[in-house]
């Protein structure tokens, strides 16, 4: 009797476990397949887009009428961005696949800039035409390579999940076709090096990375410690730790962390070796209760800048996040706002002390400038703006435009509907350099039932 019951229970147990195991197995497979499908989709999309891209660039080369060239280039731009996003979805991050993505970004930028330009006034130069031709042949090669991989994938029924597993376990998979195939693609692109796009094209990687405008002597570790202590103002009961930059950095800096032994609050800061300028500063502590207003906080920020020899800065934006005020300052010279020179400050609204400071942009961009005289009047510039916009304020500003150049602009603040726009009109030729829709406050969704 007892034996019978026991056998029965055990049997049910075994059967149950088997059933559960089977279900788990099925679920796992379903998820694996799902993931696999995503990869497959991204990969096939990518190859398809490279196909179309190649064709499109080809047709633009053959086009003569300007009115059709612009839309075609816009199409190329759209395709590159799609292809770019698909590359991002493939599990290749740890493979050296950057070059291909950069190549896509280059085509994208080039086609965008030429597509939005008025090609009647400023047609493609010979150099740009040549660049387009180069891109065409390079896209062709990549297309070929990708197609090869695609063919192998289909032929041998290869799974991206296997690549995943191979990468995860670091073991050499039996069939390495996909990885090898992509390595070939990457090599092909690498062989091209940089294409010369003509003078209108500024490579996005040629940003100044060396703080070339900085002046002053190299500071020592001790000096760095002194400066950081002054910024943190945590007193003397602190533990200080200083390190130098690694080899990967293009400029020299010291990193200082200061730990307040009593409160356990930690301040961190990077300073340039040359001149000892503060790149950024962060003090981490809780800011519980607001006791001062945003306006008072902004005055504290102004005073802080003055005390630390950041001069001729003008408050540009103030924002309150919970009990912290964040302020953006830009240089103002002869009534012209210089947007590239920006400094950000965080003020704790409980005691008005500075708890964050970022001057990276300022240190990179600030130098003595020749501010050009505008060749068109403010009225002329205003006439370039859509008549729908109700202009409220105007001023002058230097901004960095799409081509990465500093340009003098008339700046207009205007309203259209419920939205406020900031519009920059080039003060020399009246080009609409930039139109920004300014952010409205966003509802907190938790509270909306």
């Amino acid at each position: 009797m007892l034996r019978g019951i026991l056998i029965g229970v055990l049997t049910i147990g075994v059967a149950g476990t088997a059933f559960w195991g089977y279900q788990e197995h099925r679920e796992k497979n379903a998820i694996l397949i799902n993931a696999e499908n995503n990869y497959q989709r991204a990969f096939h999309d990518l190859t398809y887009q490279m196909d179309v891209l190649h064709d499109k660039i080809g047709t633009t080369l053959a086009m003569n009428s300007r009115s059709s060239l612009s839309p075609a280039l816009a199409d190329v731009w759209k395709l590159t961005s799609e292809a770019h996003s698909n590359v991002g979805q493939l599990p290749l991050t740890l493979l050296p696949f950057n070059k291909t993505e950069e190549f896509l970004a280059q085509i994208g930028d080039f086609s965008y800039k030429t597509a939005v330009r008025d090609l009647d006034k400023e047609p493609l130069s010979d150099k740009e035409y040549q660049a387009l031709k180069n891109l065409y042949s390079q896209a062709g090669d990549i297309q070929q390579d990708l197609r090869k991989v695609q063919h192998m994938v289909l032929e041998n029924n290869l799974r991206w999940m296997d690549v995943e597993l191979a990468l995860a376990t670091d073991s050499q998979p039996a069939d390495n076709t996909i990885i090898d195939g992509f390595k070939t693609v990457e090599k092909t692109v690498e062989g091209y090096g940089e294409t010369d796009f003509g003078p209108a094209f500024v490579n996005m990687q040629k940003k100044d990375e060396n703080f070339k405008y900085l002046e002053g002597k190299e500071i020592t570790k001790n000096e760095a410690e002194e400066i950081a202590k002054k910024y943190a103002s945590l007193g003397n009961n602190v533990k200080v730790n200083i390190t130098e930059n690694g080899d990967g950095s293009k400029y020299g800096f010291y990193s200082v962390t200061i730990l307040d032994k009593k409160t356990k609050n930690e301040a961190s800061m990077d300073l340039t070796k040359k001149g000892g300028y503060p790149i950024w500063f962060i003090l981490s502590r809780d800011v519980k209760k607001q006791t001062i207003s945003l306006n008072e906080a902004s005055e504290k920020a102004v005073k802080f800048l003055k005390d630390n020899q950041f001069e001729s800065l003008d408050l540009f934006e103030s924002v309150q996040y919970d009990n912290i005020g964040v302020f953006t300052f830009v240089t103002k010279e002869k009534g012209v706002r210089i947007y590239p020179d920006s400094v950000k400050i965080k003020i704790a609204m409980d005691n008005g002390k500075m708890i964050g400071f970022s001057a990276e942009d300022y240190l990179r961009a600030h130098h003595v400038r020749e501010i050009p005289v505008p060749t068109i009047s403010a009225e002329e510039a205003r006439s370039k703006i859509s008549s729908q916009v109700n202009v409220m304020e105007e001023g002058k500003a230097i901004i960095i435009n799409d081509l990465n150049q500093e340009v003098l602009c008339y700046e207009f603040l205007g309203i259209l509907g419920d939205d406020t726009y900031r519009i920059f009109i080039n003060a020399e030729d009246g080009t609409e350099e930039k139109v920004e829709k300014l952010k409205n406050a966003e509802p907190i969704y938790e509270n909306v039932i």
Partner: protein
């Protein structure tokens, strides 16, 4: 002559009605602002009052949400223009006084509505003379509000939270949330600076040509972040992580423009060691 009398009478009656409406309501006595100068970007009670008062006068047509944004800014400037004050877009002592004198503010009503999450407005009976001014401003016939619904039950002393929040340009609060998730999953044991650094790396990748162009694209790029791979990204992030993300978006980059980082104790890929290293924050090494 008779006709003239009639018109005068009608006018008188209307004016009387206009005067009576606000009085008959359950109006709260003007509880004026605190001492602060309210400027653009501020949030809180005073901003709610400012918006409500401006709306009472018909200058502000947006939502009363407690965030001093551009809509409030232009409304305040128009108010200052109309009332002959210095036009600076800040609610200082003079402006606040003028505003308090000119308008009524039903605090209980407003608080109640915000608490309930209702859609509401706070227009007052608009002065007829003001409407005739050709300033082209938004003094359109404002709908009158039943300004006394349930105000008797409202709690007087509750601090009212704004129903909106500031978010940096170009980022929605969902973007920030997603980033906070990633930062928390990746670096919750790290010092605060280390968390800002992880958020900064995500943003550097978005700006880099070698990575996808969107925050979600970067975060969900397969095998990019271990927290995404093992599901830790779906832990609920704390406030610190969110603050770190905001800092990074606002321009703090403690990493020196790094695109990669790894934990040397747990990194499995040999490749990552070949990247040029910039610095170490907490347990993570950041590299180009």
């Amino acid at each position: 002559m008779k006709k003239n009398m009639f018109i005068t009478k009608v006018f008188l009656i209307i004016t009387l009605c206009m005067l009576l409406i606000p009085i008959s309501g359950n109006e709260e006595k003007a509880t004026a602002f605190t001492n602060q100068i309210i400027q653009q970007g501020a949030v809180g009670d005073d901003v709610i009052e400012l918006q409500a008062r401006l709306q009472y006068l018909g200058f502000y047509n947006g939502k009363i949400d407690g965030v001093f944004g551009w809509g409030t800014y232009w409304a305040l400037r128009n108010f200052q223009y109309e009332f002959g004050l210095d036009i600076d877009g800040m609610a200082g002592e003079k402006t606040k006084k003028k505003l308090t004198d000119a308008s009524k503010y039903n605090k209980e009503f407003v608080n109640e509505q915000i608490k309930k999450g209702n859609k509401f407005t706070h227009y007052g009976g608009v002065d007829l003379e003001k409407q005739q001014k050709p300033s082209g401003e938004k003094n359109t016939e404002a709908p009158k509000q039943p300004a006394n619904t349930g105000s008797g039950t409202a709690d007087k002393n509750t601090e009212q939270k704004p129903s909106a929040a500031n978010t940096p340009n170009g980022f929605s609060s969902n973007d920030i949330q997603l980033m906070a998730n990633a930062v928390y999953g990746e670096a919750r044991g790290e010092p605060y600076t280390g968390q800002v650094a992880v958020a900064a790396v995500i943003l550097n990748r978005v700006n880099s040509a070698s990575f996808p162009n969107t925050v979600s694209g970067v975060i969900f790029e397969p095998r990019a972040f271990t927290a995404v791979a093992d599901g830790q990204i779906w832990l609920t992030p704390n406030e610190k992580a969110k603050e770190a993300v905001l800092d990074a978006i606002n321009g703090w980059d403690p990493t020196g423009n790094a695109l990669y980082y790894f934990n040397p104790d747990t990194a499995t890929s040999g490749w990552i060691w070949t990247r040029p290293q910039i610095k170490k924050i907490g347990k993570h090494i950041f590299c180009k």
